[in-house]
């Protein structure tokens, strides 16, 4: 799979190229953007799911999402193994 490596190298350089300046910008942007963590509703009029976060219920959502994702990924891994076994069998 030479193509995959090629694609990955391309993507990694692209991701690194864009994420790099982003880190550098953080300090300058921190002063200009609205503070997210501030609990006072007066500082931000735009409604977000702050209450859900304060209750800790967001972690339930994250747990469910991670479980679903892991389930799908484990399925993919087992499929990968099955195909690998077939390939080995056919080669013999």
């Amino acid at each position: 799979m030479k193509m995959h490596k090629w694609l990955l190298v391309l993507l990694l350089t692209w991701a690194a190229g864009f994420s790099g300046p982003a880190v550098a910008q953080t300090t300058s942007e921190a002063t200009s953007t609205v503070e997210y963590s501030s609990q006072a509703p007066a500082s931000s009029s735009i409604e977000m799911a702050d209450m859900m976060r304060r209750d800790g219920k967001i972690y339930i959502v994250v747990a469910v999402l991670v479980s679903v994702l892991l389930g799908v990924l484990l399925y993919l891994i087992s499929l990968d193994k099955k195909i690998g076994r077939l390939e080995r069998e056919l080669r013999q």
Binding site: A49, V66, L69, D80
Partner: protein, 221 residues
Amino acid sequence: MKLTWWKWLTIALLLYTVVGGMLTEVPRLAILNETIRNLYFHVPMWFGMILILLVSVIYSIKYLRNPLSRHDIIAHEAAKVGILFGVLGIITGMEWARFTWGEFWSNDPKQNGSAIGLLIYFAYLILRGSFQDHQQRARISAVYNIFAFAALIPLLFILPRLTDSLHPGNGGNPGFNAYDLDSRLRAVFYPAVLGWTLLGVWMVHLRTRLEVLKQRFYENA
């Protein structure tokens, strides 16, 4: 578990996307509110689709230069996974649009363009199915694939910019701005794009191996 390193990277990036996508700080934007987090799931579908379809078209060109059935198989499987990502992109986009733009389908130029682009790719699959001869199928669909990809680029990236669009970065605006300018979004968005794309590559990898096995099985039988 023995897995190639990039498969571990896929798993790590996707886990980071889900956890980071829900828990990290995002800018407070009117109308969008918390739905800005869809940026980590809806947009990577399109990035993934374009990159996987790019793999498909590269293998189509490779097939035309050197007609190995392996090249044809990769082009076909990559096109199928690319279409899957595109369909997921349309569905997630419609869901997001319903609650931010008011309607599932508001005839936004980018929505229309992506719908036309997907139809062109559906035709690729139908075209493939209409040949009896393997070599004829591989050759003609490889040529069609090149045209399909060439049509997709203006439909998604050029035409929507020429008119007003609800999508950010369109309607006269340069590329990424409003949302992507924020470094907090970027920190999850780029890993998310990489993770979802690698997941697609993984799927192409599996389906290709399965198809190669199938061919070899029929040859031996």
